[in-house]
């Protein structure tokens, strides 16, 4: 009996030498065969109801090309290239560099609207201008800033970065349009708005006959981009609308030059909702600009205000609730965490000012900061503190 009992319990009681035992091991969560993957869980979290997230196309329809037209017109051209021995030779020697201008021209007529929409979505242009609507930019816009350079212009594409200094003067705008059509041009920014408005309108021209922008009715004059300091890169968006008839825009008209920023508050969504029966978005171009030193003068002398400066609000670190007996913690660092950071910095500043003499030159910095012997009776935590201060590590950076 005893041997039998021993045999039963021996596997539980006696642990063989060298055998790995997982003390306190238990299954955490659902077993792997049943659990969902991280991707599945993320998809579930980010799920949007397709009915609620429905996007509406508010633009002009994409030009339709029949397959027969493509094959008949283009394929013959392609065959011609293929039979050309010069082409073959160039391709073989890797000298066949395609003509970028011609490529761009063809691209604008074929896949450009689709690709432009993709990148505009990447920049969330439609979401911030219209909410649940989008459009395909059918009409290519050529917007060039002349910034005084003899050989180059700053062109607005689809999110490229242009210096705010280069966008001082109103750009030249060209697009293809028949002379009997009417157009509206809006230049707005949804970023870095100082009031609770949705956007600032930087330029508004209505009832443009054909492509003669200068002959249109200027409702708001051009204001150069004014991204505030510290806010980063703001989007500046040109949208061209096609009008079905002449529209009375007198409610948007402001005195010119319009320098009160509050008067430039704008909401594209409301604007579009009001006039949607007669306007259709057709063209889109946008760029990004950030603060530069030339803007100080604009804020002070043109807009008559102080220059705003902002800083990104980083999330505050989590600090554990304080305990009576913090074990395995350096007491000085532990206590500093729970003090007001201003007090801590004040201590450092006072220590620094103690060494400063109003009439004597400041002490020269130590050439080999850690080579200077510290007193033997100094506690180790204080030695470390002194060494850190000498090396410029840690909290001393807060006051310098």
């Amino acid at each position: 009996m005893a041997t039998r009992l021993l045999r039963i319990f021996s596997s539980d009681l006696i642990v063989l030498k060298g055998q790995q035992v997982r003390y306190g091991h238990r299954m955490r969560g659902v077993p792997p065969t049943k659990a969902r993957t991280l991707q599945q869980r993320l998809d579930e979290l980010n799920y949007k109801d397709p009915e609620l997230a429905l996007q509406v196309n508010i633009g002009l329809p994409l030009p339709k090309r029949s397959r027969a037209e493509i094959t008949s017109k283009w394929l013959s051209e392609l065959k011609q290239h293929r039979s050309d021995s010069e082409y073959e030779r160039k391709a073989r020697h890797r000298e066949l560099i395609i003509d970028m201008e011609a490529e761009k021209k063809d691209w604008l007529q074929t896949s450009a609207p689709l690709q432009c929409k993709t990148i505009a979505k990447h920049y969330e242009i439609f979401e911030h201008l219209y909410g649940d609507a989008y459009f395909y930019p059918i009409v290519p816009l050529d917007i060039d800033y002349d910034f005084g350079s003899e050989d180059s212009l700053a062109r607005v594409y689809r999110g490229n970065i242009i210096k705010s200094d280069e966008a001082k003067q109103a750009p030249s705008i060209t697009y293809k349009a028949e002379s009997d059509t009417l157009w509206t041009l809006l230049f707005t920014t949804p970023d870095g708005v100082l009031t609770d408005a949705n956007e600032y309108c930087h330029w508004f021209i209505g009832n443009i006959p054909g492509n003669e922008v200068s002959k249109g009715e200027q409702l708001m004059d051009y204001l150069r981009p004014i991204p505030p300091r510290g806010v980063g890169y703001c989007r500046y968006i040109f949208v061209l609308y096609k009008q079905d008839k002449k529209i009375d825009y007198s409610e948007y008209k402001t005195e010119q030059p319009c320098l009160a920023l509050e008067k430039r508050s704008f909401n594209t969504r409301n604007f579009y909702q009001k006039h949607q029966d007669y306007i259709t978005p057709a063209g889109l171009a946008f760029y990004q600009a950030t603060w530069d030193s030339s803007l100080t003068d604009v804020y002070h002398n043109t807009l008559k205000m102080e220059e705003p400066a902002f800083e990104y609000d980083f999330p505050q670190p989590y600090i554990k609730p304080q305990t009576w007996f913090p074990l395995k913690q350096p007491f000085n660092l532990y206590l500093d965490k729970y003090r007001d950071p201003k007090d801590v910095n004040k201590d450092y500043l006072l220590k620094k000012l103690k060494k400063v003499h109003p009439f004597k030159a400041p002490e020269p910095p130590l050439k080999f900061p850690n080579a200077h012997r510290l007193p033997d009776d100094m506690p180790s935590w204080l030695k470390l503190e002194v060494k850190k201060n000498r090396m410029g590590l840690g909290r001393i950076n807060e006051i310098e």
């Binding site: 293929r82 066949l96 395609i98 690709q115 999110g159 490229n160 708005v193 609000d313």
Partner: protein
């Protein structure tokens, strides 16, 4: 605390509507506007990536290629065509150039030869510059083949940097060093 905040807010709104009812819409001067402004929002989703403070997925240690990127260059070839794309970690392909496009196909002799790769590289680089994407990660190795080497060379030659910046982590008061703030550097 919360209640008082709401009270003040509603008071301001009522005052505003009353004055606008009596005297028409009141326009504040720019200086006054700035006094009331305590925070400003930049809604540009790419701004945080340009400032290097956006979140970058870490991925898994044993996974290859990793997921630690905002934008990544991808090259894929099918039986007939070559396609180069820039992938965003959330939005998928955002910029692309392919021999399937008529505008490119038209001027090529073969759709998968070395000169096709070369031209695809050139066009993709230009489209990226026009779309404001100047930095991207690249897991394609130039040792993978002669054509791929040509493709990468063209991309670099046209001004794209095939490496992304590291994320900026905000230092805590007790951190030892203070890394340079990317947005404070003005050219």
């Amino acid at each position: 605390m919360y209640a008082s905040y709401v009270g003040v807010k509603s008071l301001r709104i009522t005052g505003y509507t009353l004055s606008s009812f009596l005297y028409g819409r009141q326009v504040h001067s720019n200086a006054e506007l700035l006094n009331n402004c305590t925070k400003v929002e930049n809604k540009n989703p790419r701004n945080m990536e340009l400032l290097r403070i956006a979140r970058k997925p870490v991925g898994y240690q044993l996974e290859k290629p990793g997921r630690n990127y905002w934008h990544k260059l991808q090259l894929s070839k099918t039986g007939r065509h070559v396609t180069a794309e820039v992938i965003h970690f959330q939005n998928g392909p955002v910029v692309s150039a392919s021999t399937i496009e008529w505008s490119i196909k038209k001027q090529l002799y073969r759709l998968k030869d070395a000169s096709a790769y070369q031209n695809i590289g050139q066009i993709l680089a230009r489209r990226c510059l026009e779309s404001g994407i100047y930095f991207m990660r690249c897991d394609i190795r130039s040792s993978d083949g002669d054509k791929i080497k040509l493709f990468l060379k063209e991309i670099k030659r046209n001004g794209i940097t095939l490496q992304e910046h590291k994320c900026y982590h905000n230092p805590q008061p007790w951190s030892s060093d203070r890394p340079e703030k990317p947005w404070a550097v003005v050219e």
